[in-house]
Amino acid sequence: MSTSIQFLLSKIKGDRYIWFIVFALSVFSILAVYSSTRSLAFSSQGGNTEYYLIKHTAILFFGIFLMYLCHLIPYKYYSRISQLLVILSVPLLVYTLFFAADVNDAARWIKLPVINLTFQTSDLGRFALIMYTARMLSKKQENIKSFKQAFVPIILPPVIICALIFPENFSTAAVLFFTCILLMFIGRVNFKYIMLTIAGGVFLISIIIALSFAFPEVGRLGTWKARIESFTGGGGEEQYQVTQAKIAIAKGGIIGVGPGNSTQKDFLPFAYSDFIFATIIEEYGLLGAVFLIFLYLALLYRSINIVKKAPSSFGALLAAGLGISLTIQALINMGVATHLLPTTGLTLPLVSMGGTSLWFTSISIGIILSVSREADLNEEKENYKNELPENDNLEIENSKEKKVA
């Protein structure tokens, strides 16, 4: 037994803490999904509650397998891949905008032929964009403060992608755009321009809100209006799912009612995805929630920690960007479930049920681990060759160093 664990440990590279976080989140995920799909199982699987357990566990294992594969790929390749994905995501997003399948009132999904999987193109867009922004930021470091040389080429892809996601999925677009701006700040883009962009964004959102109240019948404007109303309490009584989520949270108390003992999941729409955090609080209490938040923050901390030893600025920004993106998504999901934020439709990364969204998360973590793996390698080398002259050019790639070695 112990030898097989040792064998496994010898196979996995990268930050051990991140692997542990993945393991802990997976356990949470399986428990919470199994518990919260009960009513779904009764309505669509004839009461076969194991159906979703088995399906979800299989999806999760495949995700971890993808994570493993991705962490073995040298991260430099992701630079070029990100470019391809961004180019690919544009037509897909355009297609989604006009022809997508209608899942849960939101036309955000497209169906992949042959393998018959539906996925949310905005997931792909987000994933591609974060990596691409990291790439652009690292490429433009030399004159990063310039408006024309750096700011414009860096801000352009987020503007295009978010503009394409935005009509059908306002919240995802807003969160993504905000994440990109944060990355630009971290990547040392001129603060002046960032502030201007934020001001522009706020202005745009205000217009949208005004429009949604003026023309609620156009597209999804009505949904946004309803969500804003329900959040601010403008729509009269509290929205059903918000009340149900709050009941769940209140019932959970400090230590929770125990795994599988929650009852609110039967009343809570999307108890297995958007509102899974409420179910987790009901079953594991405030302590469980604090632990879960700690896990995500720890994931972010470990991702940032890689930067200290990252061999290149691209690696640093890639790991930090993906880590930030995941953590922000997690906290927004939690904020929605606890009614700190209006309903958005973002899943809890790695915990919510849902195939492709979970796989994008897995791949993201795999990429972080890939950076981490090479950073470790780099550190070893640096320790070994600590007499080597300071390498000011962060752009030098690993392979070149190998030649030197």
């Binding site: 009941i247 949270i249 923050l297 940032i304 700190l340």
Partner: protein, 696 residues
């Protein structure tokens, strides 16, 4: 450029702190919900419970041949609304058109009344408002289409509760054969036999309990829709059944008998067209309580002689014109004395005459003489004819024939052969005996008796039952010919000659079997008659068995044969279409129309078919026809919401429809047309009032 990394690092740390602050905010928010608002939300949780309720499938109907409803489930619906289900915009946008629609569909409240009910309920946070009780199917369907309700249960707030009521439109007619099922698991008759098909598959719905103790269906997708039960189409003919039951009842009352049964079967197919079972329940009162026709094994007595004759003819032992010595009506056998029903002084008569006079001595002597050395040969005929088997009719509880087939067995006595030949020392049900008679009428082809023609679901045939041949050829054509001559002789010159008529010929055999009580034969009899008609080309075979008549007459020819004759007469005139049409005079027509009362469009259809002009210019749906000097006119009935309408003269279906639509609880007694109603016309009524209507 170490500075670059450092620069990035502090920015990252700043981001980490900011994001961590969001995490802290989430934790604070959880704390706020748990500790500050906790009691409020936990209180809501305590009032929430969840359960699965069964959604009953609608039970299928039982139809007579020709589509008359014998047993039907009338679903009715309670229309309920959760006014808080819809969003604020939807509600204010649609509430007016919804109230208008409801008022139009139900007509019991005005638009503003409906609006008032719904809006005040929403204001007061009520999530369960009964809009209408006992809505009909079309009303329910219309309601579903109303503006707000179109959006579905979850966002529209429409809740429909379904109830089912089992109704037997023909009352006690064929009651026992139609049967019933009850909650204790007792399953009787066709309702019992086809319970599985009729029941359908129930669905389920997740319900939640909300404040105030009401249960609310959860969401549309938390439900498994029920699959409605199948309809059962029987072979029974309502008119023949009515004729049969009436004739049987008349004889039972007249002869003060214990019970009686009568079955009418279609010769060519084995379809049971009528099956009546009446048990004495009081002075001159007979109810359908036990299914004698199918379940009760009886010693048939003389009607069984037909079988003995068949054996003799088919084995070429005798010919109808051969002579048999009746020995004056008394004959000593080893172990017992055989008597004819009454002493006579006849000696040498033909086989045909011996049968027509129903001589026990004659038939038993023929059988005993011809088979005493080869008893097995006689016994084998029981097996060959399938008489030892059940017929396999659909309803539960068919009696198994008790017939000895082993001459070597201990229970085969010296008396067994002669006594069996005249229908004793064996037991067989009336239906089994009729099946045999029917085979003779059908030229030797024995048909399986059956009651169900088809099962249907949503109008589509699920299973169709065709006539089943039990035995292709029971005996030779020559035997059939001779047997038919003998059966005709019974009516022509034998024990049933008093029933001969000039319109049609029928053939049959009387039976007057002595009953056993506590192991001894007593002076009580089973009077029976089995036969078929018309004698040429038989269409129906009929058996009538009457147990223990006690008003003097007890012979099959006197007690049961008249029932046969009465059924035959009516069937002959109604169903065989040979009768002269009655030339109805104008005044007679008017008389009929004056009495007509019911649904305007029905009446209009009938009258136009009869080519009678009448004035149907009336806005009401329910009218009574009236004749005066100017012609035939309609008069409105049942128009005032709160007043009792006159349903006198209506059929049960119309009367029930009108009265139940007014929310009355109706208890109908009898059958035919309504002759009296417990609440007089014009009285004020309220929903839920109880009314008794008597039909005759």
């Amino acid at each position: 450029m170490r500075g670059v990394k450092k620069d990035i690092l502090w920015r990252l740390n700043l981001a980490l702190v900011l994001i961590a602050l969001v995490g802290v905010a989430v934790i604070f928010q959880i704390g706020k919900i748990q500790f500050i608002d906790g009691d409020k939300y936990r209180a809501q949780a305590d009032s929430v419970h969840v359960k699965y309720v069964t959604l009953n499938a609608e039970r299928g109907n039982i139809y007579a041949d020709g589509g008359n409803l014998l047993a039907a489930s009338f679903p009715y619906y309670n229309i309920i609304m959760d006014p808080l289900a819809s969003s604020k915009e939807d509600f204010s946008k649609y509430v007016d058109s919804l109230a208008f629609g409801l008022s139009k569909v139900y007509g019991d409240k005005s638009k503003s009344e409906y609006k008032q009910i719904i809006t005040s309920a929403r204001k007061n946070g009520k999530r369960y408002v009964v809009l209408y009780k006992k809505a009909t199917v079309p009303q329910m369907e219309e309601t579903k289409k109303l503006s707000l309700f179109r959006k579905g249960k979850y966002t529209g707030g429409l809740i429909i509760e379904t109830f089912d009521k089992r109704v037997y439109p023909y009352g006690s007619l064929a009651n026992r054969t139609i049967g019933y099922t009850n909650k204790e698991g007792i399953k009787v008759g066709l309702e019992g036999a086809y319970d599985k098909q009729l029941s359908g598959i129930s669905g389920k719905q997740l319900m939640q309990k909300i404040t105030g103790g009401t249960w609310l269906p959860m969401s549309d997708d938390a439900a498994v829709e029920p699959l409605d039960g199948m309809d059962v189409i029987t072979t029974l003919d309502v008119n023949i059944q009515d004729i049969t039951e009436t004739a049987l009842r008349r004889s039972l009352v007249k002869n003060n008998a214990a019970w009686g049964t009568a079955i009418v079967m279609e010769v060519k197919t084995g379809k049971i067209k009528a099956i009546a079972n009446l048990t004495k329940a009081g002075e001159s009162i007979y109810n359908e309580t036990l299914n004698y026709a199918v379940a009760q094994g009886v010693e048939p007595g003389s009607t069984f002689k037909l079988f003995s004759l068949m054996c003799l003819f088919d084995d070429n032992k005798v010919d109808i014109n051969d002579t048999v010595n009746l020995n004056g009506g008394i004959l000593q056998y080893h172990g017992g004395t055989m008597y004819d029903s009454e002493p006579h002084h006849r000696y040498n008569v033909s086989v045909k005459t011996a049968f027509a006079l129903s001589s026990n001595v004659g038939i038993s002597r023929l059988v005993n003489d011809n088979y005493k050395n080869d008893k097995q040969k006689f016994a084998q005929h029981f097996i060959d004819a399938g008489l030892i088997n059940k017929t396999g009719v659909e309803v539960a509880g068919e009696g198994k024939p008790v017939i000895k087939t082993d001459p070597e067995a201990d229970n085969w006595y010296a008396t067994t052969l002669p006594w069996m030949s005249v229908g004793y020392e064996l037991q067989i049900t009336p239906l089994q005996l009729l099946t045999f008679y029917n085979a003779i009428a059908n030229d030797g082809k024995m048909m399986k008796p059956y009651l169900v023609e088809a099962t249907k679901q949503y109008g589509e045939n699920i299973q169709e039952f065709k006539p089943v041949v039990l035995k292709e050829k029971l005996c030779s054509d020559n035997t059939i010919r001779q047997l038919k001559i003998c059966l005709e002789a019974v009516v022509d010159s034998g024990t049933a000659r008093n029933l001969k008529n000039e319109y049609y010929d029928f053939a049959g055999k009387t039976g007057t079997a002595q009953l056993i009580e506590n192991g001894h034969y007593v002076h009580k009899y089973l009077a029976s008659f089995a036969g078929y008609f018309p004698a040429e080309n038989p269409k129906y075979s009929i058996i009538v068995c009457i147990n223990a008549p006690s008003n003097g007459a007890y012979y099959g020819g006197a007690v049961s044969a008249p029932v046969f004759r009465e059924i035959g007469d009516k069937l002959f005139s109604h169903h065989l279409g040979i009768n002269e049409p009655i030339n109805a005079t104008d005044s007679l027509r008017k008389k009929i129309i004056v009495d007509a009362k019911g649904y305007k469009y029905d009446l209009h259809k009938i009258l136009s078919w009869l080519k009678i002009n009448a004035d149907f210019d009336n806005s009401a749906e329910w009218v009574a026809m009236q004749t005066n000097t100017t012609g035939i006119q309609t008069q409105t009935i049942a128009d005032d919401e709160n007043k009792m309408p006159s349903v006198k003269g209506m059929g049960l279906r119309d009367a029930l429809f009108i009265l139940e639509n007014k929310g009355l609880t109706v208890n109908p007694i009898g059958r035919g047309k309504v002759v009296s109603q417990s609440i007089e016309a014009g009285q004020f009524i309220q929903s839920g009032n109880y009314v008794l209507i008597v039909l005759n």
